[in-house]
């Protein structure tokens, strides 16, 4: 075998049912064709997580589909952590890993990303990936230390702990005399209780949040993973001198204008802008502006709250803003004061989306989500749906009788205390309502009925992010077609909408190609893995990234065209995975509200999006991808 640079060339596979482990080699052509991160992770999902019966092309009944959805919580569904060839280099923002599984919220691919020290230790201890299969008999801590041998330890004493307390406890228990800490990924009570949008937390509160990987981890009886690798096992890079020079230059560029927003105010700067542009989803997408937007805007929080910046390991940008309740004028943070890692999506979902304009209430809610291990976007989305449903008088059909439920009888938008209480009820599946909402908006609406599916703001079961699709038409297409469900991260289609390139309020025949290209761009970013906030710091992204890949891997004939082909193939692989799990054309759509109600307010008041217009854009997108008119990728077109 040729010498391998940048990669380890194997995955560690642990079976929690039997306690056995092995190291599976990963073929070099698969590494090269899928790059790493989400690309390699998707290839591994096909390898380790295929259905026993391939449902591609089958017309499944709703019952069958429900069974497939629930089977995401069976021991057969693997949970896979995947690193990348850039992990372990000094390249800025490269300490990232993908978390891959099949989602119990959507039934389809769940491709998450998270960052920081854990990425480096995973690669050292486990190789290019850690595949976790089966289900432990007892609550488990999976501990892999410098020898690379997995140990399944009893974690009964960790049950019920928050994500932050779990991490702290595990680090203390596995302390090696203060030399090098273990790095921990864990779930909170929400994952233990199989909340379908539970997250996996690592490195002090970073989250692989979307699509419910924490519920899959909980279904395996796995409370935490602790990893400490051997630094000597870092794979060599092929051209270290070139890479050092490039890394220095990129770090310098990462401190320029292209990342200014993220360094200065962070993504919370979006609130005031989106409000002005009529793209800030408010009160369950009934409005696109929020009357209290200024109070929860990035500018106001910067000026009135104690805020400090933080960053993932190996990152020069530092987009994270840790914001404390109370006012800056009160002075430095006191013990016991609550702070939270605030970013736009959390702020939008637990603020405007649920009608809460008190910044302290939002900070407390975000913090509670992080402790419980809940995806903030889905948590805010399902609560917003419940608030609207309560307002329409449909919740009494649930027979809310016990103490926790009675408190929600008068559930209203804007009630920050009720949001916190509901988060608690969801995280522990308490009461009829908490238990219902823990299954996500789509299933909750199916159970409540009464037409409440029309305002269930989800795609493929995944709750919508904080971008109003009716006033961002290119993104609307991206949200409808992305395999993961309503996700703004696996497509950067909104970049076109926020530029002179298109009229964001109108539909035209170019959007299919723009959405496909933006998805390919995201696939390359997410596979190499670069942080998406670095994306404007590149000159020619494809040429530069291919050059970096050559420096790391030594595959000197790898060029920008091959990287583009890899990105397009990753999109094909994701789609094919969903097809095997029962995808059908009607899954690529948007919620009824987005297709039937014009916007009620803001600069885009009166603007809507029809199903016909969306379908035309979707057809253009399938054409741009080279898929069938029905939106299928033919298995024969995937070549590895």
């Amino acid at each position: 075998m040729d010498a391998l640079y940048g990669y380890r060339g194997f995955a560690t596979v642990v079976d929690l049912t039997t306690g056995e482990y092995r190291r599976d080699p990963i073929p070099q052509d698969a590494l090269r064709a899928t790059v790493g991160g989400i690309g390699l992770g998707t290839w591994m999902l096909h390898r380790y997580g295929s259905p026993i019966v391939d449902h591609d092309g089958e017309i499944l009944s709703d019952d069958n589909r429900k069974q497939l959805l629930d089977s995401a919580l069976s021991p057969d569904n693997p949970l896979i952590f995947v690193t990348s060839p850039l992990v372990g280099t000094r390249l800025t923002t490269s300490s990232k890993f993908a978390v891959m599984t099949r989602s119990p919220l959507t039934g389809f691919i769940a491709d998450g990303l998270s960052s920081s020290h854990l990425a480096v230790e995973l690669k050292r201890a486990c190789g290019d990936a850690l595949v976790i299969a089966g289900r432990s008999e007892h609550p488990a801590l999976l501990h892999i230390d410098t020898d690379g041998v997995p140990h399944i330890r009893n974690a009964g004493h960790l049950l019920g702990l928050s994500t932050l307390d779990t991490e702290a406890t595990v680090k203390q228990e596995l302390d090696d005399g203060g030399r090098r800490p273990v790095r921990v990924a864990c779930i909170g009570p929400a994952g233990e209780n199989l909340v379908r949008f539970a997250s996996i937390a690592n490195d002090g509160g970073r989250q692989a949040g979307r699509c419910g990987p924490g519920a899959v981890m909980g279904s395996k009886n796995l409370k935490a993973i602790a990893v400490r690798g051997n630094p000597d096992s870092d794979p060599p890079v092929a051209h270290p001198e070139d890479l050092r020079g490039y890394a220095r230059d990129l770090s310098r560029r990462s401190l320029g204008a292209a990342t200014a927003k993220y360094r200065e105010l962070g993504t919370i700067a979006n609130v005031s802008v989106f409000n002005r542009l009529g793209t800030l989803p408010t009160r369950n997408f009934q409005q696109s502006t929020f009357e209290d937007a200024e109070a929860v805007s990035g500018e106001a929080l910067h000026q009135t709250k104690t805020t400090r910046s933080a960053h993932c390991a190996n990152c020069t940008i530092g987009c994270e803003k840790i914001v404390t309740v109370g006012s800056k004028a009160q002075g430095t943070q006191k013990d016991g004061e609550v702070s939270a890692r605030l970013e736009y999506e959390s702020l939008f979902a637990l603020g405007p989306l649920v009608g809460v304009g008190d910044p302290d209430a939002v900070i407390r809610a975000v913090r509670r989500c992080d402790e419980l291990g809940l995806d903030t976007i889905s948590a805010g989305g399902v609560i917003a749906w419940a608030m609207e449903t309560a307002g329409r008088g449909l919740l009494p059909s649930l027979d809310l009788r016990d103490g926790a439920d009675l408190a929600h009888a008068g559930l209203n938008f804007g009630d920050g205390a009720a949001v916190i209480q509901l988060l608690e009820d969801i995280g522990y599946r308490r009461g009829v309502l908490g238990n219902l909402l823990a299954d996500g908006t789509r299933l909750a609406a199916e159970r409540v009925g009464g037409g409440s599916g029309a305002w269930a703001m989800q795609v493929k079961g995944l709750e919508m992010p904080g971008y109003e699709p009716r006033s961002l038409k290119t993104l609307a297409l991206g949200l409808a077609t992305t395999p993961r469900g309503a996700c703004h991260n696996r497509t950067s289609a909104y970049d076109a909408d926020f530029s002179p390139e298109v009229d964001r309020l109108a539909v035209d025949g170019r959007r299919g190609k723009i959405a496909a290209d933006s998805e390919d761009f995201a696939a390359a970013l997410d596979s190499l893995i670069w942080c998406k906030f670095l994306r404007r710091a590149f000159g020619d992204f494809w040429e530069e990234s291919a050059a970096v890949y050559r420096m790391v891997t030594g595959w000197d004939d790898f060029d920008a065209a091959e990287l583009r082909r890899a990105a397009a193939q990753i999109a094909d692989l994701k789609k094919r995975y969903n097809q095997r799990w029962g995808w059908r054309r009607s899954d690529d759509t948007l919620p009824d509200r987005a297709l039937n109600e014009p916007l009620a307010d803001g600069v885009a008041a009166g603007v809507g999006l029809t199903k016909e217009d969306l379908d035309r854009m979707i057809d253009d997108y399938y054409r741009a991808r080279g898929w069938t008119t029905g939106g299928r990728v033919e298995p024969a077109s995937i070549v590895l």
């Binding site: 320029g256 204008a257 292209a258 927003k261 993220y262 200065e264 993504t267 002005r276 970013e343 009229d503």
Partner: protein, 108 residues
């Protein structure tokens, strides 16, 4: 000067500031009186004169002294159309127009 006293080819427009531009300026908006047929660079020049604290962050000065929108920022008219900052195209401006100065990075 307000719109009542402005000669016929001049209009008053408001530049709304977002993100760090707002914090640097210490204000959320600035009013400018501009010719209806000013191209975007001329409007940006007027903004730099009216609000010099924006120079060095949201705006920068070229060697010839002309102001331009800094990399990382964008302009938008009335919350609807995004403008190419260096275009010579004339819009033309109307009385009461709002020009938004905001980050060109929409990621969140």
């Amino acid at each position: 000067m307000n719109s009542l006293t402005a000669p016929r080819n001049l209009v008053v427009v408001t530049v709304e500031l977002f993100g760090m531009a707002r914090i640097h300026a210490g204000a959320s908006s600035v009013t400018l009186t501009v010719d209806t047929r000013s191209p975007v660079p001329a409007l940006v020049d007027a903004l730099a004169r009216e609000c010099p604290s924006l120079v060095g962050n949201a705006l920068h000065l070229a060697e010839d002294g002309a102001a331009a929108v800094a990399d990382g920022y964008a302009l938008n008219r009335n919350g609807l159309a995004f403008l190419s900052p260096d275009t010579d195209a004339v819009w033309p401006w109307q009385e009461g127009d709002s020009i938004l100065l905001l980050s060109n990075q929409a990621g969140g």
